[in-house]
Amino acid sequence: MEEQIDLVGKAFADHYYHLFDNDRPALSSLYKPSSMLIFEGHKIQGVEDITAKLTSLPFDQCRHVISTIDSQPSFSGGIVVFISGSLQLPGEEHHLRFSQMFHLIPMLEGNFYVQNDIFRLNYG
């Protein structure tokens, strides 16, 4: 069971950052009206506002490199995923380090949507 949780967490993280780095508007498929994002302290709710926030960030291109992924089952089939890594922006010499957590809720179709999403850059 444990390994399955890790596989799901990793598959989700890979999918999320692939969309983020290559087709950011498609991230809307991962959220629902109840979804909540806190991005560097800014609180946003719902598919539209969340997608608007993510597609309006001040960088067009980026590459997420994942350092660590930790996953745990939460409740009633849900999963919490905790990620740390670095964000590479074109032209920038230094990578930005970040941490992010997701709370994934299962859907009837067998996949997951993001109910909670919190992102923080790690400075220092």
Partner: protein
Amino acid sequence: MEEQIDSVGKAFVDHYYHLFDNDRPAMSSLYQPTSMLTFEGHKLQGVEDIITKLTQLPFDQCRRVISTVDSQPALVTGGIVVFVSGSLQLPGENHPLQFSQMFHLSPTPQGNFFVLNDIFRLNY
């Protein structure tokens, strides 16, 4: 509602780290048999194993600085997800260690919360 979630999240974080820094065995009050901790990749479940791990950690005297606390209602579970970042200054170390930690707090019948999910990572 939003501010209440932030207050609960911050109150929990203050309480958690106060116990961690001053009375680590008392942290058993925060966990239940279903609780899970992943500490720097090491997975543990249940009050006993979690407290054993936490009381064995070499952070006997550390100065902790909390930089950010982000909280959201977990909705489906009635709980709260809390995302913390900060730094630890260990005695004898030149530079503080940055860390991130996430909690998924689940409500108890008595009206308070226990830690269902706990994930800790140092940020190198």
